[in-house]
């Protein structure tokens, strides 16, 4: 089943990429190929991948019929919300990264994640979140000259 979805996505991507390629304005001056030629080859590459996928799907189907195995049905399990939730929380962190500043945003982000994934060890979590944030901020901005968002904290 997954492989069929991948196949469909590959074909969809080939279509979208083809459409986007037609949108590139081209002035073919001194360059016999222009900016569209290589992308057209890539569309061919996507189609080759699609054909190879189809062959693999057919081969696997044949094997399944021969072996008489039945497909495992996909089921929702409780651990499957972890990645969407962490991704969403990381997204929020990135949204407020510049507005709140690196230090505040990072400290809050780390506190919440460690409170959940390193449960019960409050002192360790608070110390890590605060100290790591402060030390990394000063090490990167003052010693290495890397620009990190300052945000609402005045230093």
């Amino acid at each position: 089943m997954t492989d069929r979805i991948i196949l469909a996505c590959t074909l969809l991507l080939a279509g979208v990429y083809f459409w986007a390629t037609t949108k590139i304005p081209s002035l073919e001056l001194g360059d016999p190929l222009g900016p569209k030629a290589f992308p057209r080859m890539l569309i061919a590459g996507l189609l080759i991948a699609a054909v190879m996928l189809l062959l693999e799907i057919l081969r696997d189907n044949k094997r399944k019929i021969e072996e008489g195995s039945t497909a495992v049905k996909w089921r929702w399990e409780p651990h499957q919300w972890v990645v969407p939730a962490v991704a969403a929380w990381t997204g929020i962190y990135m949204v407020v990264f510049e507005a709140l500043g690196y230090m505040l945003a990072t400290a809050i982000y780390l506190l919440v994640l460690t409170a959940f994934f390193n449960r019960g060890r409050w002192l360790m979590n608070v110390l890590t979140s605060v100290l790591f944030t402060a030390i990394s901020y000063f090490a990167f901005t003052k010693l290495l000259g890397v620009n990190l968002a300052r945000g609402i904290i005045p230093f």
Binding site: L27, A37, L42, G45, A87, M94, F117, F140
Partner: protein
């Protein structure tokens, strides 16, 4: 003769105090990165690129190479003590290494991997020193058409050799090339596929893609494991950190063979450290008088694969340095780092900047000595890293990734990109699409398109240039074979087994 002078000068460069310091920093970070599950050498090197911007290229590259080969040493520690490879190529070590640890021989397993890594790592660097010069003289004959077909071969080999399904490997390769076309086309000045986002005019940086696909995706996997309670616990080091005479006798052969297997596999594109260690493991099992001990703590099963995955790193640097073409994910990131520092690896580099090349290569002899010290007497320090609660470690990796991504341009778009590619990497892992081919083709995409267009300009638009020379024809045939092989081998096997039955 001139080369010999260059090699000797390289030692002067490598022995400069500042470069010794960066070699040490590199191998130290490499060991840490290798020990810690969650961040591998590719993401480690990528994260350092924005931070080390403006450093002397020789020192920066010496440090990054140190991370690359140092991670292989660290990876074995995690494999032996918690049965999880700290680094993908240590996967075979986790079988017999962990069994040895369970029997109270963790010290011997750690010692044999450090010593084996040192011997094989040095064999690899000697191989690199010997093979680099002859290969550059061949590479000097390469024009754009030869380069294009060489890249095609590297990509087809990587796409069909990594992962379970060749189709998905090819898909990953094309996806990387597609991402590489985003941004302003250098030859015509036209913006392509920028989707109206101004930051995309410079293209999607490979640093954010690598950090997302390798570091962020690993964080997602790791946090999910913690929630499910499947995270592993570290064993204590037991037994003396040295080998008995009998263990030593059993290990020396596998180390030499592993060192040679690893180097040869490393030079070829596609295969990489994991395949090198699997090949060494199967070779040792086949040659052993006691194959039944494999899987139950056979020291040969640690010595061989560990040797192989270390000499593989030196082998993998051969095509990168001499041809400028990486053969896998981590060396592709190294190529990206070279380009960021304005250094183009390839045959001309040996002529124009011998001090950088030989300084880098010779720093690896020194780095390997440092690594054996870090990983034997000082191993106890690094093992403590394994006791850091993973619920703290993974959130910190996100923050470090965010610093690295934000440091590139000071733009939030790069933060979004690491999150996006983190999710992509996590999903791809679940559906068995390998990410190494994507990284390789992303880094090579721009150069590949350039050489394709240059070749076509030279030939006046005639495709014949791609099958006009012996080199291009050979490379094209090899590309076709590497795509066809995964389909042909099962058929041949099926025929063979039918033949046996009849």
């Amino acid at each position: 003769m001139e080369t010999l002078v260059h090699i000797l000068n390289g030692f002067t460069v490598a022995m400069q105090p500042v470069n010794l310091w960066y070699t040490f920093l590199g191998v130290l970070m490499g060991t840490i990165i290798g020990v810690l599950p969650g961040i591998g050498p590719s993401a480690g090197i990528a994260l350092l690129i924005p931070i080390t911007y403006g450093m002397n290229p020789t020192s920066a590259l010496i440090m990054m190479a140190g991370i690359y080969y140092g991670a292989k040493y660290g990876g074995s520690t995690t494999a032996i003590l918690i049965r999880t490879p700290g680094e993908a190529a240590s996967v075979m070590t986790s079988i017999d290494g962990y069994e040895m640890a369970k029997k109270g021989r963790a010290g011997a397993a750690l010692a044999v991997s450090a010593i084996g890594s040192f011997i094989a790592g040095t064999i690899g660097v000697i191989g690199l020193t010997l093979f680099a010069v002859p290969l550059t003289s061949i590479a000097l004959k390469f024009g754009p058409a030869e380069y294009f077909t060489l890249m095609l071969f590297a990509m087809t080999a990587v796409s069909t050799l990594t992962g379970q399904s060749p189709a998905k490997g090819v898909l990953a390769t094309v996806l990387g090339l597609i991402i590489a076309t985003i941004g302003i086309d250098l030859q015509s000045g036209q913006a392509r596929y920028t989707m109206g986002i101004p930051e995309f005019q410079d293209g999607v940086g490979f640093v954010v893609v690598v950090v997302g696909l390798f570091a962020m995706a690993e964080v997602f996997r790791g946090l999910e494991d913690i929630y499910r309670g499947t995270g592993a616990k570290a064993m204590k080091i037991t037994g003396k950190l040295w080998l008995t005479r009998e263990e030593w006798r059993r290990s020396i052969g596998p180390i030499w063979r592993g060192g040679i297997i690893g180097f040869v596999i490393g030079v070829l594109p596609g295969a990489g450290g994991t395949i090198a260690s699997i090949m060494s493991y199967t070779t040792e099992k086949r040659m052993s008088k006691h194959p039944e001990e494999f899987g139950h703590g056979a020291i040969e099963g640690v010595a061989g694969p560990e040797a192989a995955n270390n000499s593989d790193t030196a082998g993998a640097l051969v095509p990168l340095l001499t041809l400028g073409i990486p053969g896998g994910g981590a060396t592709a990131v190294m190529l990206g780092a070279f380009i960021m520092y304005g250094v183009q690896p390839g045959p001309m580099l040996f002529q124009n900047n011998p001090q950088l090349v030989w300084g880098l290569i010779n720093s690896m002899y020194i780095g390997n000595i440092m690594l054996v010290i870090l990983n034997l007497p000082l191993i106890g320090l690094f093992v403590r890293l394994l006791y850091i609660p993973q619920g703290i470690l993974y959130p910190l990796i996100v923050t470090i990734s965010a610093i690295g991504a934000y440091a590139i341009n000071g733009s939030v778009v790069d933060l979004w990109l690491i999150l996006f590619f983190g999710i992509v990497g996590y999903v791809f892992d679940k559906i068995d699409i390998p990410v190494a081919p994507l990284v390789l083709s992303l880094v090579l995409g721009g150069i590949m398109e350039q050489s394709f267009r240059q070749a076509m300009t030279i030939s006046g638009g005639d495709l014949k240039i791609f099958y006009g020379s012996a080199i291009t024809v050979t490379l094209l045939v090899m590309s076709v074979i590497s795509v066809a092989l995964p389909f042909i081998i099962p058929r041949l096997r099926a025929l063979g087994s039918k033949g046996d039955e009849s």
